[in-house]
């Protein structure tokens, strides 16, 4: 896609955003006043939602240092994973739970400014409030990393965060506040955000939901992200569970790139959760 085309697209977005009054009200965190966070569940959610796959420090001294820094080169420019460790200066250590909740549910920072959708809040917005609280409590047990976040390197007009308001209305608004009772769907769609890489995107960066999990262009490297739709993957339940546990494909190839990190996460989930993920994928054949 040509640079002038993206420039035009961005200009349209900026113009549209200027006329839209976005309703920033939300119904509060709705967390029961007496709620006591479950740190163990928070740890499970940490691995299920893959925070470390993007935010792990580039040269970590311990396994879960979330100092960020990894570059993601896309058509819109280069994004750098920010520091989300508990550093009060450089990370999110000074946040209140409500700040974290708004980030996960609305994709906004504490000042009300939009995050870019490279942060998959359009998936996390489907998380249960209690789970967000549990995850928040676990994040606080991880080390603070005193490394400043790198500024994203985006060209005009994609560096204008207001344009994301329009994007949110198109691609991230519908699922807000919805709670998901089905564990397989919750694991894949809300926590694992598998679709963010495995579903192709349109020119605006929105997911092509009619090609759900059918693979797409690698946004951060060459080649394609493979389809994990059962009509293409052809793996049975045991094979999917094995892959999520050990990283071995049925042909004993071993996961590489970003997927190696995803498997590191899924290997720490319970066997029943890995089975749920496999069941979700296999039932796509019936839809």
């Amino acid at each position: 896609m040509s640079r002038p085309f993206f420039f035009l697209l961005g200009t349209i977005f900026v113009s549209a955003a200027a006329f839209i009054v976005f309703d920033k009200d939300y119904p509060g965190t709705q967390l029961p006043a007496q709620y006591v966070a479950d740190v163990d569940n928070g740890e499970t959610l940490f691995y299920a939602s893959g925070c470390r796959s993007c935010h792990l420090s580039t040269n970590p001294n311990s396994p879960n240092e979330l100092g960020g820094g990894e570059a993601f080169k896309t058509n819109f420019g280069t994004f750098y994973a920010p520091n989300i460790s508990m550093s009060s200066t450089y990370g999110i250590g000074s946040w209140a739970f409500e700040d974290f909740y708004v980030a996960m549910k609305l994709g906004q920072n504490p000042t009300g400014s939009n995050y870019f959708p490279v942060f998959p809040y359009s998936s996390y917005t489907m998380m249960n409030t209690e789970d967000i609280a549990d995850l928040w409590s676990y994040l606080q047990t991880l080390p603070a990393v005193d490394t400043p976040s790198k500024k994203h390197d985006l060209g005009f007009p994609f560096n204008i965060r207001e344009t994301i308001t329009v994007w949110n209305m198109l691609y991230a608004d519908n699922a807000k506040y919805s709670l998901m009772d089905d564990r397989p769907t919750y694991l894949v769609e809300a926590l694992g955000h598998c679709a963010q890489c495995h579903t192709p995107r349109n020119i605006l960066g929105g997911l092509k939901t009619d090609a759900w999990l059918k693979g797409g262009k690698n946004p951060n490297g060459k080649g394609k992200i493979p389809s994990i739709h059962p009509s293409d993957l052809k793996w049975n339940k045991e094979e999917i569970v094995e892959y999520l546990s050990s990283g071995f494909t049925p042909d004993y190839d071993v996961a590489g790139g970003k997927m190696a990190s995803v498997v590191e996460n899924t290997s720490r989930l319970s066997e029943s959760d890995r089975i749920y993920i496999a069941e979700y994928l296999l039932r796509l054949n019936d839809e």
Partner: protein
């Protein structure tokens, strides 16, 4: 029986290599891809024994581990040339960090040698798979798309 198993493995190996490498033009890349496929095929022999999909065969298992070690030892040589191909999954960072890259391959060779000599029975295979798979993953996570 063993020659039959070896033949089946060899045929599968060639078939999977042909399938996986179709459309690749660069000779060096093809060689690298075949090397990786051969490692996977030997892992598959061990995995099948671990899952009891085929009977445990100590000499065959030791041979598979030895072959993985041997192939891993060749990694530095096979990646020495910065050969690229649109279908290659090797990240260019390999050649920026070539010493680190070959250190990982050498570590896998060392692990394979140790595992080959310590393997006694089927009960050891889980550790063999975890160790060798861990070695593969360490390299793939950083140096493969």
């Amino acid at each position: 029986m063993r020659s039959f198993v070896v033949s089946v493995v060899s045929i599968s190996l060639v078939a999977s290599a042909v399938f996986a490498h179709s459309g690749v033009n660069n000779e060096d890349v093809i060689k690298r891809m075949k090397q990786m496929s051969e490692m996977a095929s030997n892992m598959k022999v061990l995995g099948a024994m671990m899952k009891q999909q085929q009977p445990f065969d100590l000499p065959l298992a030791k041979a598979a581990i030895a072959k993985i070690g041997e192939l891993s030892a060749e990694t530095g040589k096979s990646f020495a040339t910065k050969a690229e191909d649109p279908k290659s999954e090797a990240k260019p960072i390999i050649w920026d960090e070539f010493d680190e890259f070959t250190k990982l391959a050498d570590a896998l060779t060392k692990d394979a040698l140790q595992l080959q000599s310590s393997l006694k029975g089927p009960e050891d295979l889980r550790n063999v798979m975890a160790t060798l798979g861990g070695g593969c993953k360490q390299c793939h996570s950083k140096y493969r798309e």
